[in-house]
Symmetry: D2
Subunit: 315 residues, 4 copies
């Protein structure tokens, strides 16, 4: 029993004439799960970070402290591990299995949000070739998905974060507003560097049929190629070019949101030391940084708020 | 000039029959600014982290790389420093000054988003009392605001993040769903610990008149007091209690959103070592953690999407 | 059994004609432990992060994979929790209990290293006064200790990290080397800000008798007071002043090491906007930062390498 | 002038009968520098984080606030950028150039410490092949060096941090001490995962002649190969195997220090859900973690304290 002698007998209601409960969700976040597929000597590794949140009729948990309808966050964690026993697969597919399980098992759970981050590993290559069961972490970027279910509707958004790129030429920034607050000179050849965050939504009608792994690889490659090959007049233009190619290439994608810091690289003034500096030595600044954010949609397809709510695309 | 011999003469258009530009914004993020008010010997210190993002007619920056309408992020940074010369004041008031400045100065800037984080400092106390100009950082929590302007409409949301609290008794969690996936036992007396994130929106009609410092202090105190004094049956109930009191106390607040991890503290099983453990020794776990999120609104006042978009309240 | 069909029967030796095993230690790091003293209604909270590492005759674990002498890191963790059942007390005292336990229990454990970080909490204050069992995290600084045992010798080093301070006046920096590489102007009045790391060693002959809590509070206050009250000509001078006072005040302290970044605050040039800036608006830079490090010892007492090895005082 | 009316005329001495200045160093840390080699269209990118610290006769800066001998940290930063104009090359070589410059330029600078971190980039590959001037960040590991000069003696230590690896089989841990505090079962087939930190010192007589890039690549590959291919009976044994091969392969390396967390992956008990779990589903824990640290030296070559002091190899 509680040490609090004044505690009332639970449950008990906290009422209000002026306040009412709005949107709410709860669950278990950042369940770090590693799955090893061991068919024979050659193992396949899947390393994910899973978050599960349920939505539905949970008002009495809040207002009364009555947990009769509460599927404990610990139970949600157990479920994630249990479902992973049969394999994980694409993050989007695993999140969808979780969505279907929870909404199908508890009739007062009418929806929810399942997020999966996937960390990439490469096989270690030795003189004997790629190893069967030894791996080294690949890259710093993270593949991500947010899957949301609202009644029978399923919304899948996929993304990549921390995809860090830099081009040492092929980028200009000239002709911007020249007023009292401008002190920056035109730059006809500058370093452009950013950590790309991209999220894209799928046509809900197709959200159970997409080959998510293939689309992920393609979108990532489009982003890298457009970044590399476009002679850029503004980071905004680069984002637009990336997004246009993604929308044109993938009919299943309805919208893409890009959020990119402008990681400034400043040409160091070496003239006090009697040296020139023709774009050779740069100072890589931390803060502040520019931030460019844009959504590009498929013509005729309005952005779907239920797909994008709680997706950390812009902030 | 660019080193890229194939670069076309700027600006040039990237067109698409199927893609179109949606929501977009850009600016300078995390401008770390310290303001010293030095009227006489006793200094006042304001330490803020300011982000500015503009919205309006910036389509040609994206589609053509035409920067004629682009107020450079560097110029936005300059403006932030320049406006701080006259003082910073409450974060909400400073963000509003920025909003008014940018929308008032550039007629194609129809709105934007200004975020301010404020770090707290206490005076160092020596044997001579509180010092005039020496300070020590106070706490780990951060006071925050997101101010958005859409045409003539102003939306102010205030918040606090990383307000870490723990109660070592006065918290239960019993009677939740008991099915296959439940392995957690009822707990009639447990540690409850969380890092509180709270954001609250103000009545737009009052957003230029509120005493933001006073409301911040009051909301923070309400949150702490309710956390401490409510005998809690669920973290959801604690959030509801905090929110109800905030809404009931502050007529200017229309909605509050709370997002709280459940920082699990597990009673360690000491029986293998011949010891009991009556809630004395706990293991503080990192991941996974529970996550409880809820919005509480004022009855009759619908949630305002333009106030809450891009506020990192839930995720 | 292992899936590796070629695995030899353990243990097996890996020999070398040219390599030999040097210093080694192993253990469990960052055991997050919360202790609640619940004598009556008023609880006392101790929140620590404990790391244990053993030294001794562990050569065969390395060379043969023979674990017969290996006290598993998991067992070390169990021991930490078990010993905490009787209370934690000062971090230095708890680390010493661990040191004595491990070296006293396993005769081939001839020494080791025990580190404890302590996080501070304040009672939440409500209208009913300080609460019996509800707490809010205090400050961002961390109290730390590294206790090492080498045979029968015990070495205690205590510290504080992330003690962030700033003074908005009372700091100069003038008259430094003026050569080709100097571009910085003299500053007769500047902001001085730093995140103090301080570590101090105790006289081994007194290491079981010190009132560590009292000394910690005193050293912390000396550091803050000297920072505040010394009109500083260089951050080096401020460090020297802090250290001298600590050594002069505490006879049990043999040496103190201070490592302090110089968190640069740059006066923003507002002249392009027609404004002056008499030390009012500053840009707080991230990187690079100055770094000032110094050891101050008690005259006649040489620095003890066994106390300071593996203490992260300078880096 | 300072606002402090009581400030004495600088410099002024702070004396002590009982305290004396010991080891000290100062400089500029984390100078983020990007160098672009642009011989023709194909650019070469070098991305480093440089820290410079000087040692020598700086006592009066501390005791008197007399900066006459002080080479400002800002001037050290300028020097780093200036020397980079002629190219960076291997981190060890650049740090050595800095060491020689500072000790050669200021006769009271008798030594110092120069640390360089290098971030890796790959060329972006498009349908047109590897790009001339567009890059994507490679991996999360960081190549590092600490070069110290003490009078005419030069000490070079190289390292790698955050090299994250995992093997899903080929690792056992059995037969460890079985006493009261043991609760862990033997594991004949477990996941072994770690973030490798390795530092190795070079023979000072050869420290200006080594092909540092080649040795780095070789040591990294040895570490990965030994991790992958050794059937491991203990993480200690794996470290020993890595180190032995490094010492045997590279005659210029005198000592290697390895510090490796044991990133525990726990087989999840799925039996409550009616499932088996033959090493398929794992929980990846954060804290606590094991930590295994060992130095392996070349026989007959004692460890050199001046090479290893201030190298963050063990902590």
């Amino acid at each position: 029993m509680s040490t609090d002698p004044a505690a009332p007998t639970p449950p008990y209601e906290i009422t209000s004439d002026v306040a009412e409960l709005g949107f709410n969700q709860y669950g278990k976040s950042e369940i770090r799960l590693v799955h090893v597929e061991r068919d024979g000597a050659r193992h396949e590794l899947t390393d994910v970070n899973v978050s599960s949140q349920l939505r539905g009729d949970f008002a009495r948990v809040h207002t009364h402290g009555d947990n009769a309808a509460c599927v404990a966050t610990d139970s949600q964690k157990n479920t994630v591990f249990s479902l992973a026993r049969e394999g994980v697969g694409a993050p989007e597919a695993f999140a969808t299995r979780l969505a279907d399980h929870f909404t199908g098992t508890y009739d007062w759970v009418t929806g929810g949000r399942w997020e999966v981050e996937q960390l990439a590993w490469n096989r270690i290559v030795t003189e004997n070739g790629p190893h069967d069961h030894a791996f080294v972490r690949a890259g710093k970027e993270v593949r991500r998905t947010v899957v949301q279910r609202d009644g029978d509707d399923l919304f899948v958004v996929s993304g990549v974060t921390d995809l860090t790129v830099l081009k040492s030429s092929g980028s200009e920034f000239v002709g911007f507003v020249d007023d009292t607050y401008r002190t920056l000179a035109d730059a006809t050849d500058r370093i452009m560097a950013t950590d790309i965050t991209a999220w894209w939504s799928y046509d809900p009608a197709r959200a159970r049929e997409v080959d998510f792994d293939a689309v992920y690889d393609s979108v990532r490659q489009i982003i890298l190629s457009r970044f590399a090959e476009l002679h850029s007049l503004a980071l905004q233009q680069t984002l637009w070019a990336m997004a246009v190619t993604v929308i044109e290439t993938h009919a299943d994608i309805t919208e893409i949101r890009l959020s990119c810091p402008n990681n400034h690289h400043v040409v160091v003034d070496l003239s006090p030391f009697g040296q020139d500096n023709p774009n050779v030595v740069f100072f890589a600044a931390d803060r502040p940084y520019g931030k460019i954010e844009a959504s590009v949609t498929r013509k005729g397809v309005p952005s779907e708020p239920r797909a994008w709510s709680t997706v950390p695309a812009f902030a």
